[in-house]
Amino acid sequence: MSTMPPAAVAADPLESVADTRPVRNRRRRERSVGASIALHATLIVATFSALFPILWVVLSSIKPASEIRRTEIQVFASPTLDNYRRLLTETDFPTWFVNSVVVAAFTMVIGIAMSATAGYALSRFNFPGKRGLMWVFLLTQMFPVAILIVPIYTIMANLGLIDTKPSLVIAYCTVAVPFCAWMLRGYFDTIPRELDEAAALDGLGPFGTFWRVILPLARPGLAVTAFYTFLTAWGEVAYAIAFMQGSNHYTLGAGLQTFVPQFSPRWELLTSGAVLITLPAAIVFFFAQRHLVAGLTAGGTKG
């Protein structure tokens, strides 16, 4: 669960793309033809490297199994959706998919609910313990899976929760809650304090201000944080493999690996599964990206 960027880093670039672009670029018109070609050539190579693995997996997923197991390269070979049909009807893939959705959704909701008020308090108030808490959030970024997974596993085993969805949700919350608090704090910082002051003048207490004024304004920030949290839970494997034991309890991360054992891997199921796992993640990802730009550039003062 450690590949997600904190808000500050992920958010700023997209915000500034929109508003600083025209200013500087006006004076960078004079570029020689040679430089132009070199620029495009480099970027085309980079784009090709970025897209090729994805394309190759997609292309392979529509080849019959016998064509995947061929030593010479073929881009197209009697395209068929047979792999997808088999994946959806003859394996537990649909169950894993539902399990993943449930686990990721619960993680997302709990992560946001437990951290929203903390994000607000950290953004607005100075209170004893604030620095310590911020430091703890940073420290949790450093935790390797390795240090928490064993104690959490033994605790879950004692509680009899191993092989259940709650055990995964709880494990994911160890990362999701501090991450959400950190990210939401960054978002609340972008909402002008004048709004809080105006609300206070109108007689709202700190909780009323948070609930009625700040939370509605922070919807884009909440959405983006929620999406990222969902995606990290969607793509997590270490806990999923360690905690889930029955095939019908697997999440996607734990299930997909059962297609490719060391001997006689079934690449046709793996590639089609990979496409079906990535598709929703990519859609959510790009929706979050766009939302991020809109939320950050339009945000705050309008309300």
């Binding site: 960078r28 980079a46 693995p53 994805i54 437990m114 008020t117 004893p128 064993v150």
Partner: protein, 315 residues
């Protein structure tokens, strides 16, 4: 005390849910983990009591005579002297892996960000295409690259065969095996660096470039004297985070190399994981690994911050 409570009670009330969650879900297990690293806990001795059913369905329990017990620093000594596990092999793999990945992430990310920061036709297409790998869940990417590097059916060996070079058995040799994992992780991690650095580039004041151009600075001089210093706040943060994330990157090694050949490409995190969940489960060994990994990272982060602070950089 009273006064302080009156003044801050609502702030404390607001952080309370998070603090409770962190306390119960993070700090209690963390302490448990540190404790476990001083015991000999494993699969066979994890029960504190042995319960037996007697006739009539009643259950009697008595303390387990072989229950896990405190062993002091034995685990640490065993690991660091190489009596258990392969700490130093995994440590050297982790160093190579982290250095190579972070250097390539940063270098390629910076190069692409500088290019994308210019104005040209097709810019937004390139930007979307180049961040696509970020949208792929890491375990899916790991399987995709394992498939691409597959010794018999993989496209890379297919291309090698087609141009008449002998196919490479990627996973039979330590460095080629590690190379495949590094390629996969670089592919996965460059987009984040690129987007973060692009944001940093756009916050640099354009007037600086104009002034430098007037003074006759070459493009390289402008890059070294304006772009790089301007990027420092962003760079220092993303390099620190990138290092920590790469150090702990589990799925790529676990699924791409699977430690092949014979555990020679394992990094610390995957080594700890295998100790805990494969073969005879040695929980105390894994917990010790966890404590060591965390200590290494904390030391790294504080040295890193101190070095930056010395150069007048605070983040």
């Amino acid at each position: 005390m009273r006064k302080s409570f009156d003044k801050h009670w609502y702030a404390w009330a607001m952080v309370l849910p998070t603090v409770i969650v962190l306390g119960v879900l993070v700090f209690y297990p963390l302490l448990q983990g540190v404790w476990q690293s001083f015991t000999n806990l494993n699969e066979s001795n994890q029960r504190a009591e042995i319960c037996t059913k007697i006739l009539g369905g009643a259950v009697t329990c008595e303390p387990n005579p072989d229950a896990a017990k405190f062993v002091g620093l034995d685990n640490y000594v065993d690991i660091l002297t190489g009596q258990q596990g392969h700490f130093w092999l995994q440590f050297s793999n982790t160093l190579v892996w982290t250095l190579a990945c972070v250097a390539l992430h940063y270098g390629l990310g910076l190069g692409l960000a500088v290019m994308l920061n210019r104005n040209f036709r097709g810019r937004s297409f390139y930007r979307v295409a180049l961040i696509l790998p970020w949208a792929v869940p890491s375990f899916v990417a790991a399987f995709a690259w394992r498939f691409i590097f597959d010794e018999r059916f993989g496209v890379i060996n297919g291309v090698l065969r087609a141009v008449g070079i002998d196919p490479v058995s990627w996973f039979e040799q330590r460095w080629t095996s590690l190379f495949t994992a590094i390629v996969a992780n670089v592919w996965l991690g460059v987009p984040f660096m690129m987007v973060a650095l692009l944001g940093g580039l756009q916050s640099i004041n354009g007037d600086l470039y104009e002034a430098a151009e007037m003074d006759g600075a070459t493009p390289w001089q402008r890059f070294v004297n304006i772009t790089l210093p301007g990027l420092r706040p962003v760079s220092s943060t993303v390099v620190l985070l990138g290092t920590i994330w790469t150090f702990n990157m589990f799925p790529i090694i676990y699924f791409v190399t699977r430690g092949q050949p014979a555990g020679e490409t394992e990094i610390l995190v995957t080594g700890a994981y295998r100790a805990a969940f494969e073969g005879i489960r040695d929980y105390s060994l894994a917990a010790t690994y966890g404590v060591l990994i965390l200590s290494i990272l904390v030391v790294y982060a504080s040295v890193y911050k101190r070095l930056l602070a010395k150069q007048g950089e605070v983040f």
